[in-house]
């Protein structure tokens, strides 16, 4: 039986879709069978980031409304046989799906896949509730900005009321030079407030933009720093003890993250 993981944040544009695509690709490259669900109904873009847009025939809403079988809507990735995408509907809105239907869908998918990754929409409304309904655990994505951390905190508070283990944190778009200058929140500031386990830190990296436009997840590009960070996160998800990336030329950061990692409540 596989595990259903929702990737969520509260705030939009912080990297949920990027993280879903890259974790999916990284886990698949490590031999795991993975299905990605785009739960951002009405604003789908996980298919674009994965470069699979031209293969879509059916989507999530077709499945829950019974217009097609689940297996018909799953799109096989062009790089890995063990990676699939269940795309969102572009034309419907979030109320087209209920939490109960999402729960059922996740239950079916985790029989066949090691990982079911759900890309959550922004916000705390219906779309968010759908995205978390069938999840066994959650990953929170936050950028080093006060508003992003605030929203992440709100989400963590809401998830605490669910029957799932404490979520883990991915800090995205960190810029070591800015942190050093004191112009950006550093990891310890964020962990101080959120007080959850840190799963990974992804640098702000042009290769993400390039790979997003090409539909090739950066996690598959050996030279990409952000890709390396996602590969490490995937291995940590599998229970490996992978040291944190030393970001740029800042040896201090590695040490600091390690220390905080141990202290995170």
């Amino acid at each position: 039986m596989g595990e259903v993981i929702v990737i969520t944040s509260g705030k939009g544009g912080v990297g949920k879709t990027t993280t879903s695509a890259n974790l999916g690709a990284a886990l698949a490259s490590l031999g795991k069978s993975v299905v990605l669900i785009d739960a951002d109904i009405g604003l789908r873009n996980l298919d674009v980031v994965m470069g699979l847009e031209n293969r879509i025939v059916y989507h999530l809403v077709d499945v829950v409304e019974g217009y097609c079988r689940l297996s018909q809507a799953l799109i096989k990735d062009k790089r890995f046989d063990n990676l699939c995408l269940l795309p969102a509907a572009q034309t419907k809105d979030k109320t087209a799906v209920t939490p109960e239907q999402m729960r059922q869908l996740c239950k079916e998918l985790k029989v066949d896949f090691d990982f079911v990754l759900i890309d959550s929409p922004a916000g705390i409304e219906q779309g968010f509730k759908n995205a978390i309904a069938g999840a066994d655990r959650a990953l929170i994505v936050a950028t080093p900005e006060v508003s992003s951390v605030r929203d992440a905190d709100r989400i963590i508070g809401l998830l605490e009321a669910e029957s799932m283990p404490a979520p883990r944190l991915i800090v995205n778009r960190i810029r070591p030079a800015m942190v050093r200058r004191g112009d950006m929140m550093d990891i310890s500031d964020i962990l101080d407030i959120l007080a959850i386990e840190l799963l990974g830190v992804v640098p702000d990296d042009e290769s993400i933009v390039v790979s997003t436009n090409r539909g090739e997840p950066a996690a598959l590009a050996a030279a990409s720093r952000a890709g390396q960070a996602y590969r490490n996160i995937a291995r940590r998800l599998l229970g490996e003890d992978v040291p944190f990336l030393s970001l740029g030329d800042n040896p201090g950061l590695l040490f600091r993250i390690r220390r905080l990692f141990g202290n995170a409540r």
């Binding site: 019974g66 109960e100 509730k129 605030r150 963590i156 809401l158 009321a161 669910e162 029957s163 407030i193």
Partner: protein
């Protein structure tokens, strides 16, 4: 298309309008009592008028293993609750059961394990307040107390009197007589150690809000965007970054103390102090805020002398 206020019902397509839903599972009908990682979550029945829901809630609270001293999350199960209805729930929790309403979620949650409270039910505890504090008043802009200069030019302003339509709920029933008189004591300026105390063993996160008619002690942090309103004192055994309002029913001798006091805003009685604009100061020692001659001052917390 079902409206926002109606519960989600599993449906295989558009149902004939006006016909009663038939595929409802029993779990949607009944009130559910879930024990979560951080406390208690009560899911209201999705059907029924509000008075019957309130009755169900009252019955469940009476039968349950007790929520005294706990922060309760209410799952409205898709129902839209108005402010007066929320207040009724809040008063019921406080008045009869000594629990605080932490947050209301409108989601549909998986039916979790029904069982004992993970936090354990805790009775209201008394904290005595015999803490000697040094007592230099705050100087405008260059705040200092007996030992060292404080970093904070706290901006004071007098708040409007406690808002009438948003009062801290107070016990009114004879059943809660003792707590009632204690709460009255707080507003009358009697010692805070006569008031009931709510002990919260958790961190309050953004969007969570606790109101209590006595003192509130938090074993955890109060994050930015979270808020505590108490008729008595507020003590945070962690970092207070959110908003704390002590003496909310008018008591001017209430205090706000924290292991690390970095609040967005503190209110004591009718006085509001806010953090200075720009970089928040980071104290490295426990502190407390109180009124001295009507001015909000922040002082280093001094442990009681041993005699």
């Amino acid at each position: 298309m079902t409206g926002q206020g109606t519960p989600d019902v599993p449906s295989g397509g558009p149902a004939p309008s006006g016909s009663p839903p038939t595929m409802r599972s029993p779990s949607v009908e009944a009130l559910q009592w879930l024990s979560t990682r951080s406390g208690v979550r009560i899911r209201l029945p999705a059907k029924g008028t509000f008075p019957t829901v309130l009755e169900d809630l009252e019955r469940a609270l009476g039968e349950g293993s007790g929520v005294r001293g706990l922060a309760v999350t209410i799952d409205a199960a898709g129902r839209e609750l108005g402010v007066p209805q929320l207040r009724e729930i809040e008063v019921l929790l406080l008045e009869r059961h000594g629990a605080a309403l932490l947050q209301v979620v409108e989601g549909q949650s998986a039916a979790g394990k029904v069982g004992g409270l993970q936090n354990g039910a805790r009775g209201a505890r008394r904290v005595s307040r015999r803490t000697p504090v040094s007592s230099d008043p705050v100087l405008d802009g260059g705040v200092r107390n007996g030992r060292r200069a404080l970093r904070r030019p706290w901006r004071d302003r007098t708040a409007p009197p406690p808002v009438e339509d948003d009062p801290v709920p107070r016990p009114a029933s004879p059943a809660a007589g003792r707590a009632h008189s204690a709460a009255a004591g707080v507003s009358a300026g009697l010692p805070a150690d006569a008031a009931p105390t709510l002990l919260l063993r958790r961190t309050l996160r953004s969007g969570q809000r606790v109101r209590f008619h006595g003192n509130v002690v938090v074993l955890g942090d109060v994050n930015p965007g979270a808020e505590i309103v108490a008729a008595g004192d507020i003590v945070v055994m962690g970092t207070l970054r959110g908003v704390a309002h002590a003496g909310a029913t008018g008591s001017t001798d209430a205090i706000v103390a924290a292991f690390r006091l970095q609040p967005t805003q503190i209110r004591v009685g009718a006085v509001i102090g806010r953090a200075p604009d720009g970089q928040a100061p980071r104290p490295d020692t426990p502190e407390m805020a109180r009124l001295r001659d009507g001015v909000l001052v922040i002082e280093r917390y001094m442990p009681p002398a041993v005699d």
